[in-house]
């Protein structure tokens, strides 16, 4: 496990196998904290995987053969005598900041998921995330994304944003070039009013769950108040990056929905799901409606059950 600094060359993108096999080549994909850069060596330009973070270098072999089949098939037609590749994922893990980084080399790697991943755990399309419902509207529920499954917290101060002083505000485009966008700006600005606050502390990754994305059947009959309440923790999938303000999430799957809720709008006790649309408080027996997640159904079962769900 070597420590690397940003800009350090980790591996060339293609490398002949060390075992001396003439047919086999090693291909290295850049994972988190790494990027491909071309380096001039004499007259040639060589693609090299370089570190973009300070941390430990982690190399994992990508085992799943089905993963890049489509890509390989297309390549094979052009070049029938293409050598066999062993694929590796090279990533840089920064310090011991989270449990994830500690076990990074044991987590199953997938090139498709990792190549364009940023070092921070930003939500991307298709990611399963944990979000907290902050506000309900007739057509949509507002949430704040807290963490991405399998990757850790979205930001170090996640969850702070929506209880901050000005949680509804955010930075406009152009970032902090206006005054009062950070504590430093407030402190050093000469025209800040006494008692001025920065625009927000702990920026939230805001998201929306629209009524039509809550469940897969009878979408037009969905009443948002029967599905979520503010404060609920929801397991959801990122549908799209959405607009500038919100990510779009969906819970239209059996394993998605509310995983943690308290009764009486948060004043009561923890509730447990008794079926996919009802939760009951263990202490008081209060029954409330939610779109519950079945956390113990496998992905295949989720597809089969979807019809029985709404029957």
């Amino acid at each position: 496990m070597t420590t690397v600094v940003p800009g350090q060359y980790l591996e060339p993108e293609y490398k002949p196998n060390d075992n001396g096999g003439t047919e086999e080549l090693c291909r290295y994909f850049p994972g988190k904290g790494a990027a491909i850069s071309s380096v001039k060596v004499g007259a040639h330009t060589l693609p090299v995987v370089v570190a973009t973070l300070l941390g430990r270098k982690v190399v994992q072999e990508l085992k799943d053969p089905a993963e890049d089949d489509a890509e390989e098939d297309a390549d094979d037609k052009n070049n029938p005598a293409k050598p066999k590749f062993r694929k590796f994922l090279v990533s840089v893990v920064a310090g011991k900041q989270s449990q994830y980084s500690e076990y990074a080399d044991q987590i199953e790697a997938s090139a498709v998921a990792s190549v364009r991943a940023a070092a921070t755990n930003l939500p991307r399309e298709g990611d399963i995330v944990l979000a907290r419902v902050t506000r309900l509207q007739l057509k949509q529920a507002h949430c704040e994304i807290l963490c991405v499954y399998g990757h850790g917290n979205v930001s170090s101060d996640g969850g702070v944003g929506s209880i901050g002083t000005n949680a509804h505000m955010s930075l406009p485009m152009g970032g902090g070039s206006q005054i009062l966008s950070s504590y430093a700006a407030v402190a050093s600005s000469q025209n800040a009013m006494p008692g001025a606050q920065p625009m927000d502390i702990g920026e939230a990754y805001r998201a929306l769950i629209r009524t039509q994305d809550i469940r897969s059947t009878e979408r037009d009959k969905v009443k948002i108040i029967d599905c979520f309440r503010p404060g609920d923790l929801v397991k959801a999938v990122v549908l799209s990056l959405g607009d500038g303000s919100n990510y779009y999430l969906t819970t239209a799957r059996n394993d998605l929905g509310v995983v943690f809720a308290k009764s009486e709008g948060g004043a009561g006790d923890l509730m447990v799901a008794i079926d996919w649309e009802t939760m009951v408080c263990e202490k008081t027996g209060v029954v409330e409606k939610r779109k519950c997640a079945n956390l113990f159904s496998s992905a295949e079962a989720a597809g089969e059950e979807s019809s029985s769900n709404t029957a």
Binding site: T3, V5, P6, G7, G33, A35, S37, S38, V39, K40, V50, T52, L53, L54, G55, R56, A94, G95, K96, Q97, R116, A117, A118, A119, T120, L122, S155, S156, M169, S170, L171, P172, M173, G174, G175, G176, S177, Q178, I179, S181, S182, Y183, A184, A185, S188, S189, Q190, N191, E203, A204, Y205, R206, L241, G242, D243, G244, S245
Partner: protein, 297 residues
């Protein structure tokens, strides 16, 4: 639940400044119009300030700087750099979400500010008449340093990895002696410090940025010069930022001076010297980073 709006009734009586006349007020020889210190106050002993008489050398053997990162928990990343009389602190906020339209790449902003009491280099020259630089609250000098650092950063941060996000860099110049150091020298150290702050914030960079600052004295280039090092007629100053990737790419250049011989030869000479200083700084920064990473393990 609805609340009826009850307006506050504001008492509109004009404020009258009543000065009470105290019959027991002390004797008239006490000055009561000013706030005076206690009679027993002692004058603080100010130590003799050592003038930064360090001069630039062509091999850079005199360059000394102090680095520290990760001092703050409020900012995502923070770095502190001290060299001579110059103290720069850079804080990085982000990546954090923006509000508004969807953007595919992160938006990067750099804002450099001098503490209010610091004399900015060439203050009159840059700030004189025009304050219209489009950036609210930034003086011409601050704007120039910001622009230089931003140029260097843009080439090295993979902004496409951070959609819908913003990265804000705040440079605070805590100390600067305009009599000994030029603006370009500040720009060079600021760029180096900023790249360290980026590393501390965990924002991906294709490579570190380190900068070199040189001044031509005849045909020799002095590294990290002080003001007046090469005042033999016209002198040319150059600051350039490098990444070692792609065989020492230049990511930002800034030249200043009044020399007539600012030809290609002088430029090449200066860039070469800048590279030497940049490499010198880089090896130290890398050493610092490796030490930092190992201590965290």
């Amino acid at each position: 639940m609805l609340f009826a709006f009850t307006p506050y009734i504001i008492n509109s009586t004009p404020y009258i400044n009543l000065i009470p006349h105290f019959p027991h007020f002390p004797a008239m020889n006490v000055d009561r119009r000013r706030m005076l210190g206690p009679a027993s106050a002692a004058t603080p002993i100010v130590p003799a300030v050592s003038s930064a008489a360090q001069t630039g050398t062509s091999d850079g053997s005199h360059i000394k700087f102090f680095l520290k990162s990760g001092l703050s928990k409020n900012a995502s990343g923070l770095a502190f750099l001290e060299t001579g009389d110059t103290i720069v602190e850079v804080s990085v906020y982000g990546p954090r979400p923006i509000k508004g339209l969807y953007i595919e790449r992160a938006s990067l902003s750099v804002e450099c500010r001098f503490l209010p009491y610091i004399t900015q280099p060439n203050e009159v020259l840059y700030n004189g008449s025009s304050r219209s630089n489009g950036r609210a609250g930034l003086t011409g000098i601050e704007h120039r340093v910001s622009a230089f650092v931003e140029t260097a950063l843009l080439a090295t941060i993979p902004l496409e990895k951070y959609p819908k996000l913003t990265i804000d860099v705040f440079v605070n110049v805590l100390s600067f002696n305009a009599n000994t150091r030029s603006l370009l020298n500040l720009a060079a150290w600021t760029a180096t410090c900023t790249s360290l702050a980026m590393v501390d914030a965990g924002i991906e960079m294709r490579d570190l940025i380190t900068a070199g600052h040189v001044q031509l004295s005849g045909t020799t280039a002095l590294l990290d010069p002080t003001v007046g090092d090469a005042d033999d007629g016209g002198s040319l100053e150059c600051v350039a930022c490098f990444t070692t990737m792609h065989n020492n790419d230049v990511v930002a250049v800034w030249m200043d001076g009044s020399s007539d011989d600012a030809g290609l030869e002088a430029l090449t000479l200066q860039l070469e010297a800048c590279k030497n200083m940049s490499n010198l700084v880089r090896s130290n920064v890398n050493g610092y980073l490796l030490g930092l990473a190992d201590s965290k393990e």
